[in-house]
């Protein structure tokens, strides 16, 4: 089995790549109908809504889009991509922005979601599978704060929803190589 492309949202394969130049994302096809932002569950919380992010990228101003911390609120629900009349992969554009921002060290004004994603991949790399308790501990360290809803977490532990056992490792050697290949690209 071979992987044809790095991914449908393969944005930052080479430093010279621009988000707008990535196959399949097609931000330049946007005619600003705003259907993406109308269906977006978090558009009201973003300082730049999805259609504005796409317009910035299409105009070659992706630097501004990269620094917009609203990109980290995207839940990847795919409503924007699904409803775009011109086939722009809006969620893919936002993924590409997040990937570029993370790779180039852009610090979002609110770093909680980025810290969570980093903690999540740390846990995948360390154990092969994600264990909720270990993930929460990693997140707390990376974000330098406790999860937002610590009392709910305590109740979930009490109910046995969050197991307390020590995580076992699965295929971690193979995953380490996989992560290194991704990093070295």
């Amino acid at each position: 089995m071979t992987v044809k492309r790095a991914g449908s949202t393969s944005a930052c394969v080479l430093p010279a790549d621009r988000v707008r130049g990535v196959e399949g994302l097609d931000p330049e096809l946007c005619f600003a109908c705003r259907k993406c932002s109308a269906g977006c569950p978090v558009a009201d919380d973003m300082e730049l809504a999805p259609h504005q992010l796409v317009r910035l990228v299409a105009a070659g101003l992706e630097e501004e889009a990269l620094h917009s911390s609203g990109i980290w609120l995207c839940t990847s629900c795919q409503t924007c991509t699904t409803r775009c009349p011109n086939g722009v992969d809006v969620a893919g554009v936002i993924d590409a922005l997040k990937q570029r921002a993370a790779a180039s060290g852009v610090k979002p004004a609110d770093g909680r979601v980025l810290a969570f994603y980093r903690a999540f991949l740390d846990e995948v790399r360390a154990h092969g599978r994600v264990h909720e308790m270990a993930l929460i501990a990693r997140y707390s360290l990376r974000a330098r704060r406790l999860p937002g809803d610590i009392r709910l977490g305590a109740r979930m532990v009490q109910k046995g929803k969050i197991p307390l056992g020590l995580p076992k490792k699965v295929a971690t050697g193979e995953l380490r190589r996989l992560f290194e290949r991704a990093k070295g690209r």
Binding site: V3, G7, T82, D95, A102, F120, G128, Y139
Partner: protein, 266 residues
């Protein structure tokens, strides 16, 4: 399709916070004569973190599991909508000959629907439900291959087959907030609470889900508490009269037992 044995990818949540989804899935499919064979050595699909941070990991973490599944057969079934979606993207982006299915795809095939009707012990006729599909099970159609992505029907069909009173509502595929629960619980609470209120307005006694993230977000983030959120497999187990459901209900934040008892399901 007629399936008797299929490779099974439980995903991290079904080994952790959503063990009742794993247990009920195994129980129901076992009772229907479908042998779920857990894929040995499976690893995390990467979820939102993978595709948000790295274009290569976005595919490679999930593709690794497809490679394992190739040795086992033609299909890989996942009960988690998020895993299903990442595996489906990997299927599209690789030369894998494995077809990824969601657990609901098997349950809603015409053969399984017939089998459910034949094996029905306790019809859910007193139970008013809304089916909540969420995002990643259905969108985008280029990945999921579904035609009815704005108004999906498969869970409605399954619940109707076992006699539930399926209510219509417009929020089947609105987002619950997904993986933002730890970092941005404020956003998840707003999105999930709205869904719960809309389910109440539709006259539902409970919400039926097919994803551990959807179930957990809806079950734990309600402003006004009290609407149970169940997995479709838990309700199928009730309808089939299967034993051992008690331990599942204890793991829910909103206890489903009063609603199920009142509806004559338990």
């Amino acid at each position: 399709m007629t399936v008797t044995a299929v490779s099974y990818y439980p995903g991290c949540s079904l080994h952790g916070m959503s063990r009742e989804y794993d247990a009920s899935t195994r129980a129901v499919y076992g009772a229907l004569g479908i042998d779920l064979r857990e894929l040995a050595g499976w690893t995390c699909c990467g979820a939102s973190a993978g595709h948000s941070l790295d274009p290569a990991l976005a595919v490679a973490l999930a593709a690794r599991n497809l490679e394992l599944a190739e040795a086992e057969g033609d299909h890989l079934v996942a009960p988690c909508a998020a895993c299903y979606h990442r595996l489906k993207v990997a299927e599209k982006e690789s030369s894998s000959r494995v077809t990824v299915l969601h657990a609901l795809d098997i349950a809603s095939s015409s053969e399984t629907l017939d089998r459910l009707r034949e094996s029905l012990r306790r019809p859910l006729s007193g139970l008013k439900v809304v089916c909540y599909y969420g995002c990643l099970l259905v969108r985008p159609p280029e990945v999921t291959g579904r035609a009815d992505y704005e108004d999906p029907q498969s869970m409605d069909q399954v619940m109707s087959a076992v006699g539930a009173d399926v209510r219509s509502w417009s929020f089947k595929t609105d987002c619950c907030g997904a993986g933002l629960a730890v970092a941005r619980p404020d956003v998840v609470r707003r999105l999930s609470s709205r869904l719960v209120e809309m389910a109440r307005e539709a006259g539902a006694d409970c919400i039926v889900t097919a994803c551990p993230l959807c179930q957990t977000n809806l079950d734990t983030r309600q402003y006004s508490r009290g609407l149970p959120v169940m997995y479709f497999t838990e309700l199928l187990a009730c309808a089939l009269g299967l034993e051992g459901t008690e331990s599942w209900w204890r793991r829910h934040m909103v206890n489903p037992v009063p609603v199920l008892t009142k509806a004559g399901v338990l």
